[in-house]
Symmetry: C3
Subunit: 137 residues, 3 copies
């Protein structure tokens, strides 16, 4: 009953974001959904999915907030474990989370006019991000 | 298979909160649900849904925490984009999120005694907030 | 159609964490799921579910971040309400949240290699934590 789709996006390092609302609308069209739910799982522990008004000012404010609340620091314990530099990326992902669902009514995503679904890459490298989307109708 | 209900609440500005647990229990009763899931989508990018013990002390602590972590500031970039004042409202919503589900077992919401589902209006204006609720059983 | 499982874990106070990925994999096996969704509800308002790379360095970083963003303070209003000491536990739970879903494709959880599902006990006491898991296939 559940169909599976995938969304793949290449994102730059350090909180690069992409609006995936139109990718979700494509799935709604392809599946001819009128009433349903899309369950999104971002695979990996240094990314996140949330909603935001996707405009350049707010994108900048979000990035500054990530930096303020979960700053890059070389001396996180996770960085020592792996001689790595992305502990802050993991912390941001755990707080924002990698699962998200969107419901569909009369063929439209239940979102506000200024509310987009966004994918964030918190990692310190360019990453190809993959989202599994389960379609329930 | 999925039924759609709506919950609408008028909330005052700046992190006004309402306990919507009894609205969800009404849906459980109307639909005679014994085993199921309710999927809540708060439509709009300056609100959020989460769980909390809904008592006046904790409500005050939550509001103080929103202010501390995501303070009002006139000079956010989003405010410059729209000559607006609600960038902090958007940031809070993206962090807390607008989607939430609650499961139902033997006709009861799977919540603790001191755990209520709450809707928050982060906007700087009084807003009529609308939640789409998909019922799966 | 929805089956219900429970995961129970005894966790120590103050952000003790446990990796519950293998508990979820057990449910996938028992139910012979190839394609589906698991909906997790942590019952209680001082716990949370999220994903993280479950290694000792990152666990330490997460705990430090909880302390930094939502510090223990005796003088929260919630503590005055109940002559209690766990207001910070509630705040952390509301921010991280108690609901989480994981999708399953070809019999495997849609998670990355370094991405585990973790349960956190934020309370100031040792607690037996119960998660209701609804299985949708």
């Amino acid at each position: 009953m559940l169909k599976t789709h995938y969304i793949e996006k290449t994102l730059k390092p350090e909180s690069d974001m992409v609006d995936i609302t139109s990718d979700l609308e494509d799935i709604v069209r392809k599946e001819s959904l009128t009433n349903g739910l899309l369950f999104l799982s971002s695979i990996g522990s240094t990314s996140a999915i949330t909603t935001a008004e996707f405009e350049s000012g707010l994108i900048k404010d979000l990035k500054n907030t990530f930096t303020k609340l979960f700053p890059f620091k070389k001396d996180y314990s996770h960085n020592a474990t792996w001689a790595d530099d992305n502990a802050h990326s993991h912390l941001r992902s755990s707080f924002l989370k990698t699962n998200f669902f969107v419901s569909i009514t009369e063929g439209k995503l239940d979102l506000g006019t200024w509310q987009q679904v966004i994918l964030v890459n918190f990692d310190t490298k360019t990453r190809n991000r993959k989202i599994a989307v389960k379609v329930l109708s």
